[in-house]
């Protein structure tokens, strides 16, 4: 009896600290954001006024908010799709797509693996500053320099509102692919080699190896990747804030929900409104996670 009581005390004592920290630093700011979203708090006073759902009403009429939502939605669709397709392709080549017997990777696959993973090691802000220089619109830009040397007009990668979004998407994919190549490689390593060998003996080429064996057996990993990339697409902030002109420009062409939260809080000093944006974003993110886990649920293949 005493033993059980003491064990309970022991566990409670150990759990109390982390649970409390979690409540104080994670749950409580969330809860407070819900409250602040219903006030007109401007960040500098101690006594905000309660204004009910006014901020939400204003939010849904705000054209820039809708622009931001559209960009997040486009990222949500394109970022996972492009990243997963490219990462799967590379992982396949690095591990089993080398041709020949024994389903090995292409020559030099160890080197490529390091190369692909490299962008993942860089901090997001470093990547953003780096690509600002790559995309520079004059002769000093890494891409525009050669174009101009050939006598072509420079491309406004970040300064043309029609192109800037695609430049940001490209950088995000570039940075994410390496990690998923490694993740998918790990998944592939757990698939027994003899499956590939057997298929090869039966005459399967690279394409059928990929679609009939690799993809079905990797489905669980792909699903995880999809959810992670989806969340990345919803919370994207630093890369847009640092890399683009006017923090989400030019002309709001790359703005996303997170940058609008920041702008409203720290430029317009509308903390209440910014919190309302945060609350909306919270529901989008939770909704996405639940939905994607539901939709991609399927039977696990045993091997």
């Amino acid at each position: 009896m005493i033993n059980r009581y003491r064990r309970g005390l022991f566990i409670t004592a150990f759990l109390a600290a982390p649970v409390t920290l979690y409540l104080v630093y994670v749950i409580s700011p969330y809860t407070q954001a819900f409250y602040i979203a219903m006030t007109d708090w401007r960040g500098v006073t101690a006594t905000p006024n309660f204004i009910g759902l006014d901020n939400f009403v204003r939010l849904f009429a705000d054209s820039i908010f809708w622009k931001a939502v559209t960009h997040n939605a486009a990222l949500l669709l394109l970022l996972p799709l492009l990243t997963i397709v490219i990462a799967l392709f590379f992982a396949f080549l690095l591990n089993v797509g080398g041709g020949g017997r024994g389903a090995a990777g292409v020559p030099g696959s160890r080197f490529y693996r390091v190369l692909f993973f490299f962008p993942q090691v860089l901090a997001v802000t470093v990547v953003a500053v780096l690509f600002q220089q790559v995309f520079r619109p004059d002769g000093s830009g890494m891409l525009n320099g050669p174009l101009m040397a050939l006598g072509l007009r420079p491309v406004g990668f970040l300064s043309d509102p029609g192109i800037a979004f695609w430049s940001v998407l490209g950088v995000m994919v570039w940075q994410a692919v390496g990690f998923y190549v490694v993740l998918f490689s790990a998944g592939l390593a757990s698939i027994p080699r003899d499956m590939f060998e057997a298929a090869q003996i039966d005459g399967a080429g690279r394409v059928s190896l990929f679609f009939r064996i690799t993809l079905p057996l990797l489905w669980d990993t792909v699903q995880v990747a999809w959810v992670y990339l989806g969340i990345l697409a919803l919370d994207v902030f630093a890369i847009v804030w640092v890399m683009t002109d006017q923090h989400g420009g030019p002309d709001f062409s790359t703005t996303v929900m997170a940058t609008e939260i920041y702008r409203n809080a720290f430029t317009y000093f509308r903390f209440g409104y910014a919190s309302a944006l945060g609350v909306v974003m919270f529901f989008f993110t939770v909704g996405f996670a639940v939905l994607s886990l539901r939709l991609s649920r399927r039977e696990r293949i045993e091997y």
Partner: protein, 480 residues
Amino acid sequence: MPNPIDPPSVPHGGPSRLSRRELLRGAALMPVAGALAACATPASKAPAQSAAPVATSAANPFGVAADRPLEVWIFDGGFGDAYAKDIHQPLFKVKYPKVEVKHNSTKEITKVLQPRFAGGNPPDVIDNSGAGAMDMGALAQDGQLQDLGPLLDAPSWDDPNTKVRDTLDPAVIDFGTYDGTFHVLGYVNYIHGIWYSQKVFRDNGWQVPKTWDEFVKLCETIKKSGKMAPFTYAGKHPQYLYEPLMTMAAKIGGKEVLVNLDNLEDGAWTAEPMRQSAAAWAEIGAKYLMEGTAGLDHVQTQTAQNKYKVAMLPSGSWLENEQKTTTPADFEYGMFPIPDFTSSDKLPYGTLHSRPGETFLVPAKAANPQGGTEYLRAMLSKKAAGDFSELVRTVSVVKGAGEGRPLSPGAKSATAALAAAGDNTVYFRWRNWYAQLHDEAVAATGELMSGGLTPEKYLERLQKKADEIKGDSSIKKYRR
């Protein structure tokens, strides 16, 4: 230089003030709700305890306590923060040797100081400037700013018979007034114009244009010469271009063009002078911009000018100091005002956009607002202001502070232009009053200059935003 940033004493109370041991013990004992309530939500807190009042006198008009510390925060931007440490604070200490002056500086005013306002313990003097400055409107609206009216009526630091008010450029008072109360002290006269290299113009025989036709012709000549591009602006920050656009509209249609914009009058943006000005600048955008302008920032374009890749750019009187490390020794900065658009312009040649900047304020809830106000009075002495303008190569708002001091070519040119303009100076305030309108104007001006918007669509878009702001009850409106 590295500036040790004082850790702001924790504003909201809450766990970070506890030691880890106390926190863990507290976590076990305290009801969770209590811990939660202590965190991010704004909580009212008693204002800093004010010590016994000190009697005021002619020498000490605000009643500064001889030994109460003074906390100063300086924006570390184009002017650095050396002027505060080497000029202002020593001067203040001469009169108040026992006051401990705590000097701090930061590039991000809002990030450091906004939580302290929310927590009710702001510092005593703030240079609220730079891209990360706090919204003065929000501070004024919440009663966070000390009424600086008494400063204007106090005797000046130098002469007991002159009021501070009479030593200042009157625009400072207009500009620092929110809803009838003077709250914010602009310390520098930002003088805007088109900047060029006097050497380049001399060497090539180019003349400073006095009319718009001459300006366009000069652009054409420079373009044809193949030596450099005629014109650029900080394409990433199109406010550098909407500034001359506004000034020219005011020149065409008079000061009320800008007053109407500030007051959010119906149709203010789509008025005829605005249309003419927007169309004229859009033409420059289409024909005479340096390649790649849209994607370059102010430093990149200014450096291109220092490298003789472009002839002219619009900027303000801080430019020379900002570029001092990259400017060739014989570059010789010069500034000219916006040329006459037609001979029937409402305002004469030489009209300038001049605006007090580098804004200082004293928080109403500071521990030592008397000391803060007195610090500003010291800053406005002729010696402090003169030393300041010499050190950072700019024009101070204190009348005659630059007299008899050696000025760099750019500062000399700007000072002369301001003197020539006399009363013909214009300014606009919507930029500071309505941050959303500023962001929209930035976005749209970039599009106007790159041909993405016609002048008509450009102005319609800004009119729409102005109307939206006018109709939004959550945004405080100002008038002038």
